[in-house]
Amino acid sequence: MRDVKRIEVVVDAVHVERVTAVLRDAGVGGFTVFRGAWGEGDRGPRRPDGVSGAFETCVVLCACDPAKADAVTEALRPILKRYGGVGLVGDARWIDH
C-alpha cells in the first residue's frame, strides 16, 4: 500500500473533458468519472430534470502520486474559477496490485 492523494472534482458534464485533459497531461495514470449527479452551489441549484442535458453534473475521481498533486490542483484552479464546481484533495492509501 502506498500513499496517494485522492482528488475529487465536481464539474458540469460539458466541462468534464477539460478536467480529464488536465489529468492526462499531468500523467496521473488514470481517473474515474461518475455521471448523472446533480447539486447546488454558489450559482444556485442545477436541476436534474434534464430537459436540457446541459445541466448534468459529473464527479471526476483520481488517485494520484502526492508529488503530482500540486501540479494538478494548480491546473484545475482556472477551470473551476471559470466554469464553477468544486475540487477536493484528501489522503488515501492505494491497494498495490
Binding site: D12, V14, H15, G36, R43, G44, P45, R47, P48, D49, G50, V51, S52, G53, A54, F55, E56, K81, R82, Y83, G84
Partner: protein
C-alpha cells in the same frame, strides 16, 4: 381570441397531458420521467418531424416564396436577440441580458410540434391550413443564429473585469467550440440530419419508417408533454428570483415576437398554416440548444434566469393560449 379555438387546443390529448404534468407537480406528486427518457423522447420527436418535413419538402415544388420564408425566419432569429438585448440591459447585466436575448431569438421545437399537431387536429378543409415541409427547414435554420448574435453581444459590450489577476473571461471564448455547440448541438444535428435523410429516402423509404416516425408521433408527444408539464411546474418556484420586469418580458415577448412572425408571413403572402408556425417560431424561446451553448460561451450568465423564463413561463403560455391566440389573429388578418 376565438374561444372555440382555445377550447379545441386545450382538449387535444397533448395539451391535456401537459396539464396533467403541471397538476402532478403542483400537488407535489413524486412522478418523474428520469433521464434519459426525456432525451430519447426528444430525439424521437426531432427525428420524426425532420423526416416528415424532408419528405414533404421533396413533394412540394421549391420556389422563390420558400426561399423568402427561410430568409425571413433567419432574419427574425438574428434580429430578435438584438432588440431584446438592449431592452433587457435596462434590468440585467451584460452576460444575463445576452443569454436571455439568445434564448428568445432561438426556438422551441416542442412548441412548433404542438402547433403543428393543433393545426392537424383542426382538420380544416382549406389546404392552406396545412403547413409546408419547408417550415421544418425554417425551424432548423432558426436554432443557431441567435446563439452567435448573443455571444457577439456579450463579447462586444462586456467590460474588462477590474480583478487584476483574472484574465477577462470574454477574451478566452473558444470560437471553434462555440460554433460546434451552436451549429452541431445534438438537437440541431438530429433535426437537420433527419430533414436531409427525409429528402433522400423517397416515398418507399418513408413508407418503411412511417409506422415508427409518423403513426405513434402524437402519442409520444403526449408522453413528452407530460414530462414538460412536470418540469415546467417544478420550476415555478424559481420565478421569484426573476422579478416582475423579467416576468413581464417572458409573458409579453411571446405575442410581440409572434406578431413579427405574422407580419412577415402576411407580407410574403403565405397560408394560415405556415403563418402560425412562423409566429410560433418567432414567439417561442429555446431551452435546449441555447442553454448548452451559453454554459460554454457565457458561463457567468445565470441559467436560473434564462432557462426558468423560457421553460416555466413562455413555453406553457405559448402552447396553451399562444397558439389559438396567434391563429385567431391570423384568421382575422387573412380572412
Amino acid at each position: 381570441m376565438d374561444v372555440t379555438l382555445l377550447m379545441d387546443n386545450l382538449r387535444t390529448p397533448a395539451i391535456l397531458f401537459f396539464g396533467l404534468g403541471v397538476l402532478a407537480a403542483v400537488l407535489k406528486s413524486d412522478l418523474t420521467l428520469p433521464q434519459p427518457i426525456p432525451r430519447l423522447l426528444s430525439i424521437y420527436l426531432l427525428m420524426a418531424i425532420g423526416l416528415h418535413g424532408g419528405v414533404e419538402l421533396v413533394r412540394s415544388e421549391p420556389g422563390l416564396r420558400v426561399a423568402l420564408i427561410l430568409l425571413a425566419a433567419v432574419g427574425l432569429a438574428a434580429a430578435i436577440p438584438v432588440w431584446s438585448f438592449f431592452l433587457l440591459r435596462w434590468r440585467l447585466g451584460v452576460a444575463d441580458a445576452a443569454a436571455v436575448a439568445a434564448t428568445y431569438g432561438s426556438i422551441s421545437a416542442v412548441t412548433f410540434i404542438t402547433a403543428d399537431n393543433f393545426l392537424d387536429s383542426l382538420n380544416h378543409p382549406d389546404p392552406a391550413y396545412q403547413p409546408g415541409g419547408y417550415m421544418v427547414a425554417a425551424m432548423a435554420l432558426m436554432e443557431s443564429p441567435a446563439i452567435v448574435v448573443g455571444v457577439l453581444l456579450a463579447r462586444f459590450f462586456s467590460t474588462p473585469t477590474t480583478d487584476g489577476d483574472t484574465p477577462p473571461t470574454r477574451q478566452r471564448t473558444d470560437w471553434g467550440e462555440l460554433m460546434r455547440e451552436a451549429f452541431l448541438n445534438g438537437a440541431v444535428v438530429v433535426l437537420v440530419g433527419s430533414l436531409v435523410v427525409g429528402m433522400l429516402i423517397g416515398e418507399a423509404g418513408w413508407e418503411s419508417v412511417a409506422p415508427f416516425a409518423y403513426d405513434p408521433f402524437k402519442g409520444v408527444l403526449c408522453l413528452f408533454l407530460l414530462d414538460m408539464g412536470l418540469v415546467a411546474a417544478r420550476r415555478l418556484g424559481d420565478l421569484k428570483r426573476c422579478g416582475p420586469a423579467l416576468l413581464g418580458f417572458a409573458v409579453l415577448s411571446a405575442p410581440a415576437h409572434a406578431a413579427l412572425g405574422i407580419a412577415a408571413a402576411w407580407l410574403l403572402g403565405v397560408g394560415p398554416g405556415d403563418a402560425l408556425l412562423l409566429a410560433v417560431l418567432a414567439g417561442s424561446a429555446s431551452y435546449i440548444a441555447v442553454p448548452a451553448a451559453m454554459r460554454l460561451a457565457v458561463p457567468d450568465a445565470n441559467p436560473g434566469l434564462y432557462v426558468t423564463m423560457s421553460l416555466a413561463v413562455t413555453f406553457p403560455l405559448n402552447i396553451t393560449a399562444g397558439i389559438p391566440l396567434y391563429l385567431t389573429a391570423i384568421e382575422w388578418l387573412w380572412g
